[in-house]
Structures are given as C-alpha cells and as structure tokens.
Amino acid sequence: MKKKSENLIRTHNCSVIKIKEIPIVDYETFFNLNCNLIQSPERHLSHYFAIEEGKALRIFSIISDDKSREIFVSSTEIDKKKEIPSLTNKFPSFHPFERDIYERFNLKYSDHPWLKPLRYPFYSQEKSMDNYPFFSFDSEELHEVGVGPIHAGVIEPGHFRFICHGEKVLHLEIQLGYQHRGVEELFVKKEKLLERVILSESIAGDTTIGHSTAFANLYERLCGFNTTEDLHFSRALALELERIAIHTGDLSALSGDVAYQLGQAVFGRLRTPIINFTQSWGGNRLGRGLIRPGKINFPFTEELKQSLTDILIEYERDFVEMAETFFLRPSVQARFEKTGTITKDDVFKMGFVGMVAKSCGINRDVRFTHPHGLYKAIKLQPTILQSGDVHARAYLRYQEVLRSIEFIREILQTIPSKISKKDLSDAPLESQSLAISLTEGWRGEICHVALTDKNGKIAAYRIKDPSIHNWFALALAVRNNEISDFPLCNKSFNLSYCGHDL
C-alpha cells in the first residue's frame, strides 16, 4: 500500500510508517504541496501538528482523501525562530492547528489572520484569561454579551462572546481551554498500557468508545498485532451503541431547548435501555473498560445477543413513533428549519467533519471513506442530508440511529466465537514510526497519531477530536441568527469542550 512519491507518503487508515520514510521538504515546497492537496473537495485535513526536534520544529501534515481512501503524510523542518507564512491565510481549515503550534512553540506566522492561543492560557506565557484579545466593535448600536465560562447547566466550561445588534448575532467568538489536562503529554509520561487506555477513555467522556477504539487500533498496529475478528466485532458494536445512545440523548436535549416536553421525556427515556445494555455487557454505561488493545475482557455471548435483539425491537418501535411525531410537529419545524445554517462551501473551506459535513451533502464519514475492521466487510448505508441547518443535524441523528440499528442487526448474525486474550502490555512497539488511526465517533472523525523513538517508546502522541474543527462551525452558524437561538444551535452540534482542550 505504501507508495513513495516525491514529497509525501501515501498510506491508509490504521497504518504504521517509518518516520525516516516520510520525506522532509523545505517549508515552501511543503506549503505548496499542502495547498495543492487540500484544494480538492474530497480531501480534508485530518491532523496537522509539530514536534520539537532540538532547535528545529518538525511539522507533519495528514490529509485524508475520501475518494481514494488514501492518507497523505508530508512533513517539513523549520527553525523555531523563523517567521513563516501561514497556510490558514489561504485555507482556513488549518487555523486551529497553526494556532496550536503557535501556542506551544511560539512559532510566528507572518500572515495568520487569527493568531490567538487555542487553549489559552495553558501553553502560553500569560497565565490568566483576563487579557485575552477578544475581537470587539467600537459602536454605540452594538452590544456585547459574554456567556460563561460557568455554564447555566451542569456542563463543561467555555466562554462565548457575542456581538449583537439587538437580538441579532453578528459575531461569536468562542474561547476554550478551561478543560486542559495535558492528555497528550500524559500519553507519553504514563508508560503502562492500562494507564494509557484508561486515559484514552477519558479524552472526551461522551466519546469513550470512539477514542478508546482509535487508541486500541493504533496501539495494535504499533505492536504489529493483527486485530482479530472478535475485537473488530466488539468495537464496531460498541461504537454503534454509543452513537445510538448519544444521538437519542441529543434529540431529547434538542426537544428540551425548544421546550417540546413530550420529545424531551420520550427520547430521554429511550436512551436508558441502550446505555443499560452497554452496562450489562461491559459493566459501565458509557463503555469504560470495554475496549482494550489485544483483548476483550467482556466477550459477547448468545444471551447478550438475545437481550440486545429484544431491546432494539422495543427501542426502534418507540423511537420511530416519537421521531415521526417530533419532526412533523409544526412548532418544532418552525424552530429547526433555516436555523443555524452551514453551507457546503463553509465545510470545504473550514474542513468541518462528521455530522456537520454529512448534513451539508458531503459524505465525510470514516466508516465509508476510510473503513477499518468490520466496516470494510459490511456495507452501511451512508446518511447524507442537504440543508445544513438545525433540522438537518437533528434529522441526521434520527436517520443515523436507524442505520446503526440495521448495522447492529447484521453483525449480530455472526458472533465470532474465538476470543482474543492477547496481553500486549509488554509487547515491544515498532521503533521510529508514525502510526495513524481514524475512527468515526458519533461526533465525527477522531484521529490519533503516535510517534515512537528509537527505543520503541512513545515520543509524542497527538489527538484530534472532531470538535476542534467543528467549534468554528458553531461560530459561523449563529451569525445573523437570533441570540435566543444560540442554545439550540449549540446543542445541534453538541461539541466537546474537553475533546478540544485535551
């Protein structure tokens, strides 16, 4: 699969490449190369990060091609003190990644349009948020509304600064970083496998399965372990169960935000049997402890299959009935339609992934575009909607839940009988390599990248939650909407704070 072309290396999902095989080009070539790559609409930026190598910085760019299923890895080396032109200026989808590099290594970009710290103030010299350079207007007619970081509901902290004209939002600036825990550094520091996998489960609490699957797939590749059928099975099943549970909970919350009590109550109730099943399978409702590299502590049995089949029949009946009522309710349609619209153009420009892209008519879903494991064998029906508004994002959840149920029913027909019990905790890792793993969590594309040193130890670990792309989609979506529709828009994206802050 690994083909060498002049300035980059082509690979695929869940693969390991030797770092020295990745060509190092000068920044100008790297710049032009990435500009050319990202131009095509079927490609998007999966990750873009830098690691310190003495006085120099080595920047890696990982671009995924959704059509050819290839992943392009390119890299450059630059002097830390040098000022360089930014890719963001041409292709804004690079903006959070370049800001991250600026914040960590103080690398100066000469023409970055929005060079502010990404997770202020954790890597920066300033240790308080008080002097954050918020965008502001000098006007008598406009007013600013600041929301957070303490949130009215019991959710995570983040600060939102609106500039409004009356009820209309002109601009929203989202400033996060309050949840920074240094997860990426911990992956390097904690050397036990169990510590690392538990860490991966807590990158974003609502995507436990998504992140732990991404980690497990990556780690197994690094160990040279061929993932067995039963591991693929349990990961795909757990991932779809997580998707169903979170989507249902989101529909409940969306009903709550438009004060549609019936939907809130019914969808809220429907989430419970699904997460309870996950608990009866793996002992935890969110799926903690379920995914482990090389083994599974909770093999899927015939009894579990029977109980899941029964649960799904009952679930589907009630879910479809409620969803049909919900989406046909005029007062609900009035709130959802044409609210918080994202255009296809925005998605291409900003590189949005997951539900945001899928609700704008773009099939950017790792399960189809970069399949791994069971997704290679079993054909799922992609769910693509066109309108890009809150309604599309809500309806997408409804449709995806149905697709996931179909998928689960299909994979349940053959439960793998051989159980893998391989203990990988002392297995040596491939040295001086770069491993990439993409997983479609319920929110969108999760990308984990690990780099190992010459002793086969993890030298750097880089995590990308889809939220890092998509927070900006929220900022775009609320423009020219009413400020009172902000909570609804926010919920329709349901992005992760700690997934962003790491």
Partner: protein
C-alpha cells in the same frame, strides 16, 4: 372580598395543576399539587442576597410588583358581588397599575448591570407593550356592550338579560380564551417564553429575575401565581350567571380556573415554543382576534348594522 378569597384559594393549586398536567402527559408521576406553594414558603423564609452593583430600586421592586398584583385583585368583582374598589374606568387604572409593577421589575433588572438581564428586560417590555391593546379592546368592547366602564358594573350587567344569553355567552367564550392567552403572554409562559428552560439567552421573564433570591424571589413567584388567578378571575367573571345561586357560581369560577391551568399545562406539553422573532406575530394575532369581539359588541348594541 369574595374574589380575593377565591383568588387566594385558586393560587394554592393553580401552578400545581399546571405541573401535574405536564408530568402526566410526559408519563411521569409529578410532584404534589401543593409543591409550588411549599417552594414559595421556603423562599419566603430565606434572606435575600443583593449584588453590590444594585441600588435601592432592586430592593423595592419585588415588593411593589407583588403589591400591584394584590391590589389589582381588589378591583375584580364576583358576578353581581361588587369589588372592594370600584370606580368608572377602573380597568384602565388596573392595567396601568400592572404595567407599573412590570416597569419596576424592568428597571430593577437593568439595575443589576447584567447583559443577560438587560436582554430579558428589553424583551419583557417589548412583549408587554404589544399585548396591551388586546386587553383594552376586550374591556372596551364590554364597556360598549353594557354601557358601563367599571369591572363591577360590566360583569354584573353582562348576563342580565338585555341581550340574548346565547349571544353574550358566545362573546364571553371567545373573550375568555383571549384573556387566558393574554395572561399567558403577561406571565411569560409557553409558547412565548419557556419558564422551565435553563438557557439564559432564550429566557424572557426568568432571566430578569436571575439576581433575585430568597424573600424577594418568593414574592415574585407568588406574584406570578396571583397574576394567573387574576386573569383567570377576569375570564371566570365572564361566565358567572346573576340569576343562579352563589354555590353554582363558585363552581363555575373554579371550573374556569382549573380549565385555565389544564389548558396551560397541555399547551406546554404538546408544542414547542415559538422563535423569539415570531412572538410579535402571535401577539398581533391575539389582538386581531379581539377585533371580532369588538365588532360583535358594536353590532349588537346597534352602532352598526342592526336596529
């Protein structure tokens, strides 16, 4: 006097019924019908916390708001039983007294200097302003119909036989519905506002009182219940029959109030709230519907058409 006692009795169970209806329709058991009253009592026992940026306005506003609503109950008669206070054009006085209470709440919330509360205040003021004509249209129509201008006279003369009872009852039913809708807008309930939401950016009334606590909050909560019973009492008065006994009339009164509470509960259960931008349209629709009452009134008095 009778109205005040009845209004207070209604207040005991009114919000309880709303919450109970909402619970039952969503498949829950729901709290005790007296729970809202207990919440109020609990709040009244507590002390208030005041922000350093607020002035005396913030401290007096809840009491004035509460007293305007209690005072306005004195103007409501019970059928032929006159109200405690009654004079010509007292309905104009009543509505402006309510507006004064609201005005104080608005400036009190501006007093806190919070941008949230500023938004809430501007919304509340805007919607109250829009709903005002509707109330005057209704009372004006009844003034034309009966030839009197005080609540007591209007309600005691309404069903006394000068017009066919079916006609006055038909007008009453439409008016009662509109009075109930006005009460819902005035009290910031669905579909205009969602009292249950935790999202400050979408709130109208709730965000205005974010800074109020303890005793003040208790006063505001009881005031909004009394406001419901006030509008319910106006609606109920439209159905009271002078020739029937007092007991039957009291039964009618409670039937209307319970219907009102259940109506609010059902509305809040089975529909989503409006987008903020659509609220004025909804309020205009209410006002437009009052025109029907107005036309019916002037038609039957012979101002136009008839003899």
């Amino acid at each position: 006097m009778l109205t005040i006692i009845l209004a207070l009795v209604t207040g005991i169970f009114f919000t309880g019924i709303i919450i109970r209806v909402k619970s039952l329709t969503s498949g829950r058991k729901g709290p005790d019908i007296l729970q809202p009253l207990r919440d109020i009592l609990r709040n009244l026992k507590k002390g208030s916390v005041y922000s350093e940026t607020t002035s005396f306005i913030f401290k007096i506003a809840p009491s004035i708001y509460f007293s305007t609503i209690v005072a306005s109950l004195f103007f409501i008669p019970f059928g032929t039983h006159k109200a405690l206070i009654s004079f010509d054009w007292d309905f104009v006085f009543l509505f402006y007294m309510l507006a004064m209470g609201k005005f104080l709440m608005v400036i009190a919330s501006l007093d806190t200097g919070s941008s949230f509360e500023g938004m809430g205040a501007s919304r509340e003021a805007f919607f109250s302003m829009l709903i005002e004509p509707a109330m005057f249209m209704i009372m004006g129509s009844f003034a034309i119909l009966t030839g009197h201008t005080s609540f007591s006279d209007i309600f005691s003369k309404l069903h006394n036989g000068s017009y066919p009872i079916t006609m006055t009852y038909a007008i009453s039913i439409l008016s009662a519905l509109i009075v109930m809708l006005i009460g819902m807008v005035e009290n910031s309930r669905m579909p205009v506002d969602d009292p249950k939401t935790h999202l400050e950016l979408t709130m109208i009334h709730e965000v205005m009182i974010l800074d109020n606590s303890g005793f003040d909050l208790g006063l505001i909560m009881s005031a909004s219940i009394l406001k419901f019973t006030l509008f319910g009492a106006i609606a109920a008065n439209l159905f009271l029959l002078p020739e029937k006994s007092l007991l039957i009339n009291i039964a009618i009164y409670f039937a209307v109030q319970i219907f009102y509470a259940a109506f609010i509960g059902l509305t809040e259960s089975f529909m989503a709230r409006f987008r903020m931008k659509k609220n004025p349209q909804f309020i205009y629709t209410i006002t437009a519907a009052t025109l029907l009452i107005f036309i019916a009134a002037i038609h039957s008095t012979g101002f136009i058409g008839g003899n």
